[in-house]
């Protein structure tokens, strides 16, 4: 499927947002960081994502017993290059009312680095910016983790870390 066919852009803030970042790593390590529940938690506000990562399988993001963040289906699973997921935000009544949107992860090797592109689309025209507002922090934390092995500890980054044990 060509890029033009894959994305129908209607216009207006909220229908589609694109986030790009370069990370010095291999596609395989980047894919692992996206699909490993433990690694994911280290750069996603402490929230892990559990799934079998097969086409058509479900996924759940959250801290069991503390907070549900998102759920959906893995629509396309093509390791280590492309992951398309339906995305139902669950963390508040407001974001829940936004319904099902779509998140596409694309990994492109560039020299000794990778370009990671996260496209969040199929959103309502006036979508709540909370829906996609967390991506820059998540991607920044992912870069820090893969390049330094350390957790990003800026305010809010680890909001739910350790919450399950508390």
């Amino acid at each position: 499927m060509s890029e033009e066919q894959a994305y129908t852009v209607v216009g207006g803030r909220g229908t589609m947002t694109v986030f790009e970042i370069y990370i010095k790593t291999t596609p395989e390590r980047l894919w692992e960081a996206i699909t490993s529940e433990e690694m994911r938690a280290r750069y996603s506000f402490g929230v892990g994502t559990a799934s079998e990562w097969t086409q058509g399988s479900e996924y759940k993001s959250g801290v069991p017993g503390v907070v549900d963040i998102a759920s959906g289906e893995n629509l396309e699973v093509d390791p280590p290059r492309r992951l398309v997921q339906s995305f139902n935000a669950l963390w508040s009544d407001q974001v829940r009312s936004e319904g099902t949107t779509r998140v596409t992860w694309e990994i492109v090797p560039v020299g000794t680095s990778c370009q990671l592109r996260v496209t969040h689309d199929q959103m309502n025209d006036d979508a709540n910016s909370e829906l996609f507002g967390g991506w820059p922090m998540i991607l920044s934390g992912l870069k820090t983790l893969l390049e330094t092995g350390e957790d990003l500890d800026t305010p809010g980054s680890l909001r739910y870390s350790g919450a399950a044990g508390a």
């Binding site: 129908t8 852009v9 790009e20 991607l139 800026t154 305010p155």
Partner: protein
């Protein structure tokens, strides 16, 4: 990182980013119509923003649409805020949140 600072150092380019924040995914023609500047001028500024990673593009049919990519700005924020200001920043952002949520009521 130098490219990001250079790109942000120009008021027209910041204006372009503001326009994309308000309405993401705009064509050159749409952006040009809003600014008192030639098509060539807007194109030049967009290219600087693209090279800095602050603007990313997608095609729709024959049109090239421009999207705001705030990630490089986040990286700059995390680099300095994370190192020096974390306790202050989190206390302040909590205070800000408390005040704002009181305002909403």
């Amino acid at each position: 990182m130098d490219e990001v600072f250079k790109a942000l150092a120009d008021p027209t380019r910041r204006e372009l980013l503001d326009r994309l924040f308000e309405r993401d995914g705009q064509s050159l023609s749409a952006l040009e119509a809003e600014l008192p500047m030639s098509r060539f001028g807007v194109m030049k500024h967009l290219r600087v923003l693209e090279e800095a990673g602050l603007v990313t593009t997608r095609k729709r049919g024959r049109e090239k649409l421009h999207f705001l990519n705030p990630v490089p700005i986040r990286l700059i924020h995390d680099r300095w805020v994370g190192k020096y200001a974390q306790p202050w920043a989190s206390a302040l952002s909590e205070l800000k949140r408390d005040i704002e949520s009181e305002d909403e009521r």
